[in-house]
Amino acid sequence: MAEQNKQNKRPQGPAHGMGPIRGVIEKPKDVKKSIQRTASYFAAYKVELIFVFFLVILYTLAGLAGPYLMGVAIDGYITEKDLPGLTRIALIMLGAYLLSLILQAIANWIMANASQKALKKMRTDLFHHLQFLSLRFFDRNPAGDLMSRLTNDINAINQAVSMNVTSL
C-alpha cells in the first residue's frame, strides 16, 4: 500500500489495479453438496436444534391460541354478555401470550449462539483450508478476487443465517 505507484499522471479508469467487485450472484456448482456441507456445521448442534424445534412448535401453538381465544371471547362471552367469563378468557390469553414470549426468546437465544458458533467454525475451516492450498492456486486466483469472494460470501452466509433465526 505504502509503495503505491504514483507514476500515473493521467488518471485512468478507476477500476485499474483493483480486484473486481462482483455483484453477480454465482450459482453453486453442486447445490446438494453445498447444502449438505453447510448443514454439517449445524449438525454439531443437534441437541440444541431439536430443542429449538420443539420450542418453536410450542410457541407457535401458544401464538395461535391468541386469535382462537379471541374468536371464543367474541362468540362465547361478548355476544352472550358474560362479563366474568370474558375476564377469565382474557387472563388465559395473557398466559398464552406470555408463554409465547418466553419460549420465543429462549429459542432465539439458543439459535443465536448455535448459529454464530457454527459460522465461526465455518470460517476457521475455511482459513485452515486456505493454508493448505497450493501456490499454483494462489497464482491463478488474484488476491483481490479471493478477498472479495471470501468477504462477500462470509457476509452473505452470515446474513442468511441471522435473518432466518428470527423468522424461523
Binding site: Q7, G66, A90, T151
Partner: protein
C-alpha cells in the same frame, strides 16, 4: 445519524426515481388503510344486515385495491433497489478516487483488509439502510398515524387506553437503536480485523508457507474470529429478546381490545364489527411498528457503517497543494537540493529517520546512494516527489520548494521505480506504458531495450501483449524489476529515481542497464539507491547514509581515501580494493550485500 444524512447527497442524481418510489409508497399506505374500513363494512352492513350485495361488492373492491397495492409495492421495491445500487456504485467510486488522492502517510495508516470491509460490507449496509428506509421508513409512520386517526374516529375512549402501549413500544424501539448502534460499529470493526488477517495471509501466503507459520497464523485468525463471533452473538441476543417482546406488546393491545372493547359491546357502546376493525387497526399500527423495529436494527447498523465510510471519505490528504501553487515549466533543469532535511514518520518524533541532511544534485548528475538497510535511503528519495513532507528543512527542485509546486506538475518530471516492484494485471505493454498510455511503439521498445528486457519480452510467444497477472506473479523478480525500470524511463523524466531496482538483476545485466541509461537520458539527474558497490563506481557523486545521517559524500576516488565507512563497505564487497582502482568492471563480486 448525521452521517447517514450526509451520504444522502449521493442519492441526489437519482432523485427522480427516489421520489416516484416514495409517491407509490404513499398510495400503498392509503390503500392499506382502506382495507380495515372495508372489512368493517362487510361485517356490520353486510353479514349482520344479511345483505349479500354489499358483501360481494366490497369484497371485489378489496380485491382490486389489494392487487393495485401489490403492483405499487413491487414498483416501489424495484425503484428503491435501483437507486440503492446506483448509490452504492457512486459511493464506492468516490472512496476509490479518495484513496488515490491520499498521501503515503495517510496510506500508512490504512489497512487493506479493513479498507476492503469499508468498501464492500459497510457500503452494502448503508445501501440496505437507504433502501429499507425508502421501502418502509415512510410507510411505517404513515400507517401508524393513519390508523391511529381512524381508530380515534371509530372509538376515542378505547384508543386512548391503547396509547400508553404505543408509547411503550416506541420507547423500546428507541432504546434498541441507542443500545445497538455502538455494538454494530464494533461488529464492523471486528470484521475489519478479521479481513486484515485474511488479506495479509492471502497476500503473504508464500511467506507463511516458506516459514512454516501455518499454526501461528491459524491461532491469529482464531483470535480475531472469536472476537467477531462473540460480538455478533451479543447483537443476536438483543434481537432475540426485542422481537418477541414487541410481538408481546402487540398481543397485549389485542387483549386490551377484547377485554375493554368487549365490556363496551356488552354495555352497548360498540359493535362487534367495531371490535374486529379496531383490532385490525391495531395490527396495522403495531405491524409497522414491528417492521420499524427491524428498520431500527438496520438503521443502527447503517449509522455505524456511515461513520466508518465517512472516516475514509473525510480523510484530509496531508500533502496538500498550497494556495497559488506554482506549475513547473514544461522542461526543467533537474537540480535537486536537500536543505537541512530532517524527517520522522507519523507522530514518532523521538526517532529521526533523517537527520539534517543537506546535499545538492546538479542537473544531469548521477547520484548513487549507499547505506545499510533501514538507514533511510528510501525515505530520503521519497521526499523528492513529495510522497511525504519533510519534518524540518526543504527539498528544492530547480530552486523551488516542492511544497510550493503543483503536485501533478512536479510528478510529471520525475520517473521512479519503487523499491517494491508493483505491476498491474494487464499486458506487458500496458505496464510499460502505464505513465504514458499514448506512447508510440518505438518509444516503448527503446525503453524496454534500455532496461535490458526487450529480448526477454520478444522471446515470449505473445511478446508485448503477454499478460501479466496481478502483482506479476508469473514473472521473475528480475524481469519485473526491469519492466518497472522501462516504465519509469519511458517518461524520459528530468529526474529519475531507481530505488534498489536492480537488486534481483544479475551484475552483468545491471551494468548493461547503467550504460544504456547513460546513453538514453544524458541530461537527467539520476538517483540510484544501490546495494552493490560495483553499481556506484561510476557515479558523479556517492552518498553514504548511516542511520539517517549523511556519513560521506563524494566520488569513488575521494571517498576511498577520506571515508572509513565507505572503505569498509568497499572492502567487504570487493575485497582488497587496489585490484579495482583503474578497472571499471569487476566480475568477482559478492552480491550478498
Amino acid at each position: 445519524m448525521k452521517k447517514i444524512l450526509k451520504f444522502l447527497s449521493y442519492i441526489k442524481p437519482y432523485r427522480k426515481q427516489a421520489i416516484i418510489s416514495m409517491v407509490l409508497l404513499v398510495c400503498v399506505v392509503f390503500m392499506d388503510l382502506a382495507i380495515p374500513r372495508l372489512v368493517q363494512r362487510i361485517i356490520d352492513d353486510g353479514v349482520y344486515q344479511k345483505n349479500m350485495a354489499i358483501v360481494t361488492n366490497t369484497t371485489l373492491i378489496m380485491l382490486g385495491i389489494s392487487m393495485l397495492s401489490t403492483i405499487f409495492s413491487i414498483a416501489n421495491n424495484t425503484l428503491s433497489v435501483q437507486v440503492g445500487e446506483a448509490f452504492a456504485r457512486d459511493l464506492r467510486e468516490a472512496i476509490f478516487v479518495k484513496i488515490q488522492k491520499l498521501s503515503y502517510s495517510n496510506l500508512d495508516e490504512l489497512k487493506t483488509g479493513d479498507l476492503i470491509v469499508r468498501l464492500t460490507s459497510d457500503i452494502n449496509v448503508l445501501q440496505q439502510t437507504y433502501r429499507m428506509s425508502m421501502r418502509i421508513g415512510l410507510r411505517g409512520p404513515l400507517l401508524i398515524i393513519g390508523s391511529i386517526i381512524l381508530m380515534f374516529s371509530t372509538n376515542a375512549s378505547l384508543t386512548l387506553k391503547i396509547v400508553p402501549l404505543l408509547v411503550l413500544t416506541l420507547a423500546l424501539i428507541v432504546l434498541f437503536i441507542a443500545k445497538l448502534g455502538p455494538i454494530f460499529r464494533m461488529v464492523q470493526e471486528k470484521l475489519g480485523n478479521l479481513n486484515n488477517v485474511l488479506q495479509e495471509n492471502i497476500a503473504g501466503v508464500r511467506v507463511v508457507k516458506a516459514f512454516v507459520r501455518r499454526k501461528f497464523e491459524e491461532k491469529h485468525f482464531e483470535d480475531v474470529n472469536e472476537d467477531y463471533t462473540s460480538i455478533h452473538i451479543r447483537v443476536m441476543r438483543y434481537i432475540s429478546f426485542v422481537f418477541p417482546l414487541l410481538m408481546f406488546l402487540i398481543n397485549m393491545g389485542v387483549l386490551a381490545i377484547v377485554w375493554i372493547g368487549g365490556r363496551q359491546v356488552i354495555s352497548g357502546t360498540l359493535s362487534i364489527g367495531g371490535i374486529v376493525a379496531f383490532s385490525n387497526y391495531l395490527m396495522t399500527t403495531m405491524g409497522p411498528l414491528l417492521i420499524m423495529a427491524m428498520l431500527a436494527n438496520i438503521v443502527a447498523s447503517g449509522m455505524a457503517s456511515a461513520d466508518r465510510i465517512d472516516e475514509v471519505i473525510s480523510l484530509v490528504p496531508d500533502i496538500k497543494e498550497g494556495q497559488g501553487a506554482k506549475k513547473l515549466p514544461k522542461t526543467i533543469k533537474g537540480k535537486v537540493q536537500f536543505d537541512k532535511v530532517s524527517f520522522f514518520y507519523n507522530g514518532n518524533c523521538e526517532e529521526k529517520v533523517l537527520d539534517e541532511i543537506s546535499l545538492t544534485a546538479n542537473p544531469g548528475e548521477n547520484i548513487a546512494i549507499l547505506g545499510a538497510t533501514g538507514s533511510g535511503k528510501t525515505t530520503l528519495i521519497n521526499l523528492i516527489p513529495r510522497f511525504y513532507d519533510t519534518s524540518e528543512g526543504r527539498v528544492l527542485i530547480d530552486g523551488q520548494d516542492v511544497k510550493d509546486l503543483e503536485q501533478d506538475s512536479l510528478l510529471a518530471h520525475i520517473g521512479i521505480t519503487p523499491q517494491e516492484t508493483i505491476l498491474f494485471s494487464g499486458s506487458i505493454r500496458e505496464n510499460i506504458c502505464y505513465g504514458k498510455p499514448d506512447a508510440s511503439k518505438e518509444e516503448m521498445i527503446i525503453a524496454a531495450k534500455t532496461a535490458q528486457v526487450h529480448d526477454f519480452i520478444m522471446s515470449l510467444p505473445e511478446g508485448y501483449e503477454t499478460s501479466v497477472s496481478a502483482r506479476g506473479v508469473n514473472l521473475s523478480g528480475g524481469q519485473k524489476q526491469r519492466i518497472a525500470i522501462a516504465r519509469a524511463i519511458l517518461l524520459k523524466p528530468e529526474i529519475l529515481i531507481l530505488d534498489d531496482s536492480t537488486s534481483s538483476v544479475d551484475v552483468e545485466t545491471e551494468t548493461k542497464i547503467q550504460d544504456a541509461l547513460e546513453e538514453l537520458i544524458k541530461g537527467s539527474t539520476t538517483f540510484v539507491v544501490a546495494q552493490r558497490i560495483s553499481t556506484v563506481l561510476k557515479a558523479d557523486k556517492i552518498i553514504v547514509i548511516d542511520r539517517g545521517k549523511l556519513a560521506a559524500e563524494g566520488t569513488h576516488q575521494e571517498l576511498i581515501r577520506s571515508s572509513p565507512i565507505y572503505k569498509e563497505i568497499y572492502d567487504s564487497q570487493l575485497g582488497d580494493g587496489n585490484q579495482l582502482a583503474n578497472n571499471g568492471k569487476n566480475k568477482q563480486i559478492n552480491t550478498g550485500a
